[in-house]
Symmetry: C2
Subunit: 355 residues, 2 copies
């Protein structure tokens, strides 16, 4: 018997997967905060023997390299992706053993990126699930415009062909397990649904029901802006991300906050908009920790500008720090916990907005 | 209620501990291969909120820094240890909350090192266990001669005083949970027993039953050689160890093995001595993976010399690699799996010893 555990990264609208048998498992498209992945494997009581990337990600910093280092797992990366670190270069048709009677078969599915590769989980030689990354999503496909404008139309056509390739190889009952499409901006359009199969996609996915010209025209017409920070993710992922560092940031006092604001740094208040309106440090910006913090803050901040976080609680701060590390804002420059009265100099009053 | 999980590192004769309550836990003296620690916390369903070092270790590379980075835990290091990285400097009497009603209290216990600190686990203000690191061990104490010869006698006296300090503060029922002493060369003498309490040590530990002069004289007279590699551990641990990398080494073929031997590198055969005697690559050295591989190989190898591993199986290779990483042999230069026939050039025959 096999299992597939879904690891949600809700702030980014992505999923990673832990799939395996009684003794060992593979991880597909791990997030950067790999402590969650190691914990999931421990709860299953399995060793992680392989880590597989469907593509070099444009929307987050991968944890794959560090996870492979930490666990000794084989790190499978599509051969077409030029990366700066040692990895197992995966080609179309390659088979990776996962556990007894369980294996992963690579299927080249270009479209989201030129080298994009899906992985079919096979039990006793029979396909049971397909990890489709940014290829075939639930009701849509991964967007084809994140690599290079000159390639976009060609990649859109490739998405159509790749969807047909998967549908041609796999039976209706095979689960479709994509990485993107749960709110992710890597999805070509807002998609619906939490679970799908090849059969369901065959009946309704535009890539499988429309002819290629209609599909490409509508796909390209429907693309909206992608977050600006996406441009910085592929270089990090091809160079090899630095190890995760979630230790507490330097504590900022009122003077430090004022000095950082005066220097043009970003001071980000993570509390609710209602609390922010009632009182905040003048010049600070409000990004609620409960929203898609990572996506929107990374989108807006001038890349590389120091970010100081102000949080209601240590838990909120830790959560924000984890979310930001996932998109390459590796360390807050500083942080403070409490309320605006703690963050302004003695005698100063917090700013507020009229209700 | 609290729990204490013992994490054995048998090859080094050391123990680490995961201790906590229903929601969060502290790790004391983690080994370098922290995937085991994260897994233990996951099985308990707790967050690791603190990592505590009793001292800068002389016998292994700590995983504490990486574990703290990965989990966001506070990294507690005795204030007297000068380290190159950010940490929470712990002073005598400092209290670290672990979970509701559960806390860790630092007790300065110099002797094994000048800055050595024990940690007392307190439930509702009452001491229940003492993490004694290299201070009070089961039936003995941590050796005082690993820091600097000129300090050895002074540190031996300090061990006596520290043992009395712990015994003076703690009731008989308190568990004694040392890091060293389960085969470790950091122990002053071979000790016995798997479990102990302050009461048991009060009745039998030389540091608590002998006067200081007798204790120091006998302690110093009984010290044997320490592994040569110990000299390299403290610098690594004060600089901050590199992240663990357990990915597969480069594969060595027969030509590569011959070339490395000719260049004076070490080629280490991990199989049993019986198998080695029956056939091996001439010039290779035999360190059985089932022995105290890390201690003895690290002791013997000229420090920094490339090491190539020859193993019967991929599992043996992975195990050896993990053990060697724990003592700072970060990466094998190369490795091969199989039998001597695979490791010598075509036409050559393995060497053997007469039975």
């Amino acid at each position: 018997m096999f299992f597939v555990d879904v690891l949600e990264t809700e702030g980014l609208g992505n999923r990673s997967y832990l799939a395996g048998g009684p003794g060992s498992a593979v991880v597909v498209d791990p997030p950067r905060d790999i402590d969650r992945v190691v914990a999931a494997a421990a709860r299953r009581g399995v060793r992680i023997t392989a880590v597989a990337e469907t593509h070099v990600h444009n929307d987050y910093v991968t944890g794959g390299l560090e996870l492979a280092r930490l666990t000794g797992a084989r790190y499978l990366v599509p051969a077409g992706a030029e990366v700066a670190y040692a990895r197992v270069a995966v080609a179309d048709g390659d088979v990776e053993p996962v556990d007894a009677g369980l294996e992963l078969r690579a299927v080249a599915t270009p479209g989201h990126t030129p080298h994009h590769t899906s992985y079919v989980l096979q039990e006793a030689g029979r396909a049971v699930a397909a990890f489709t990354g940014g290829s075939l999503l639930i009701g849509t496909v991964g967007r084809p415009d994140l690599v290079e404008p000159r390639l976009t139309e060609e990649l859109a056509r490739a998405q159509h062909a790749s969807a047909h390739r998967l549908a041609g190889q796999l039976e209706d009952g095979v689960s479709v397990l994509p990485t993107h499409g749960f709110g992710s901006f890597c999805s070509s359009s807002a998609s619906g649904g939490e679970h799908s199969t090849i059969g369901a996609e065959r009946a309704a996915n535009p890539a499988l029901v429309q002819d290629v010209e209609t599909f490409v025209r509508e796909l390209l017409a429907g693309l909206d802006d992608a977050p600006a920070y996406y441009a910085h993710m592929a270089p990090v992922n091809t160079d090899g991300p630095a190890p995760l560092d979630l230790t507490e940031p330097r504590r900022a006092d009122a003077d430090d906050i004022a000095r950082r604001l005066a220097a043009g740094e970003w001071v980000v208040d993570l509390r609710s908009r209602v609390a922010f309106a009632a009182g905040h440090v003048a010049g600070s910006l409000n990004f609620e920790v409960d929203g898609q913090l990572a996506t929107y803050l990374a989108w807006m901040v001038p890349w590389g500008r120091p970010v100081t976080l102000l949080a209601h609680s240590a838990d909120d701060l830790a959560r924000a720090q984890r979310e930001l590390a996932r998109v390459g804002i590796d360390r807050p420059a500083a942080a403070a916990v409490g309320s605006p009265a703690d963050w302004v100099a003695d005698g100063d009053r917090p700013a507020s907005f009229r209700r």
